[in-house]
Symmetry: C2
Subunit: 218 residues, 2 copies
């Protein structure tokens, strides 16, 4: 499912566009591997698998998922270029990770030096804050509000252009927002009819009225 690139990459990661200042600090305390290429929908790590290394997204998109016993899926996070994922409490992954599109992932094996936790902690805390904010969205927002929150978050992480490029499909958005994919589709057309967004392409949305989206999000 994945291919190691033949050339050894530079240690300085190329995933710089949106990289948080916490990442370089982490790189200094890990042994970054070469970039592995993952095909769409391929698994990066499985639920129940032994945890340990962290993962840096060089390009592409990753989803962190969990299933209920009867197969309903919740995506707890998407990760884009420059972001790190794979933190776990304990030795076992409680979630599984998949590549959404074609992605490049660098495995970061911790050097067991003293400063390791210092480097990881801020990233773990950022993930925690994100998850907590997502709880508010899932628990207390309606479909339109969820969608607005998602679009604004995506725009923010893509560098605040008003045109958003989607790597994930409606299905993924639905499972991230706790909706059905039909509802995702309906909300998008509703926002389009209200001239809040336009949809030049299935995987591209232009935000026409950002203020309206921000009002929606609350």
């Amino acid at each position: 499912m994945f291919i190691q690139t033949g050339f050894r990459q530079q240690t300085n990661s190329s995933a710089c566009r949106t990289m948080s200042p916490d990442v370089p600090a982490l790189l200094a305390h890990t042994c970054p591997s070469a970039v592995s290429l993952y095909t769409p929908n391929s698994e990066i790590f499985a639920q129940g698998e032994r945890a340990g290394p962290l993962y840096l997204v060089e390009f592409g998109t990753v989803r962190i998922c969990r299933l209920t016993a009867d197969g309903r899926r919740q995506i707890s996070a998407f990760h884009f270029a420059g972001e790190v994922f794979g933190f776990e409490y304990g030795t076992e992954h409680h979630f599984y990770a998949e590549s959404v599109d074609s992605s490049g992932i660098r495995v970061l094996r911790p050097r067991l030096d003293d400063m390791m936790a210092d480097a990881i902690l801020p990233l773990a805390l950022k993930s925690l804050t994100r998850a907590q904010e997502h709880l508010l969205v899932l628990g207390r927002q309606n479909a339109a509000e969820k969608m607005a929150a998602f679009l604004l978050d995506l725009a923010d992480r893509q560098g605040n252009t008003s045109v958003i490029d989607f790597s994930m499909q409606r299905n993924d958005i639905a499972d991230y927002l706790g909706l059905s994919f039909e509802t995702v589709s309906r909300i998008l057309t509703r926002l389009k009819l209200a001239k809040v967004i336009s949809i030049p392409h299935v995987k591209q949305i232009e935000m026409l009225d950002i203020e309206a989206l921000e009002d929606l999000r609350g």
Copy 2:
């Protein structure tokens, strides 16, 4: 809203019943204050307030909350005796914390030594895992499944007796599970009629059929 206890408490925290092994490690790297007593519904820290110290629950219950612009509330977590809360990415609290009942909280001011992050990281990661699992509940479970998950979680954290004592009211449970308090009430009576639980008292539930609850939770 809170009263400092006159006597200086021992550094060895008394909140041992459910204490995680990670907590003693943390205590060794902080300057624990005396226990502060909080009255029901009093604020421990506010959203937007400067973050820094951590908080150890000695007794009682704490809720971590966030409001939408129009006043809907999401409780992202409850914390019981022996648990630590107050982690933040950055310098500012993104959530606010309140005492649910009468609680005793010990402020842990970090000593700025090298091992601080090592002590905090496991606790932060546990909070992260909890939040992620809560995302599945909020996003993909129906009211009965949410309730089952909540009851089993509570039972587990109270030491796995089949009788659960609630410190929070229906309203709090609703805001934790992303439901209305009426629905919480209805689900409880439904479970009672199905002989899955009994409700000897408004703030006490006995689990009669744990397997049924586990099936529900998934």
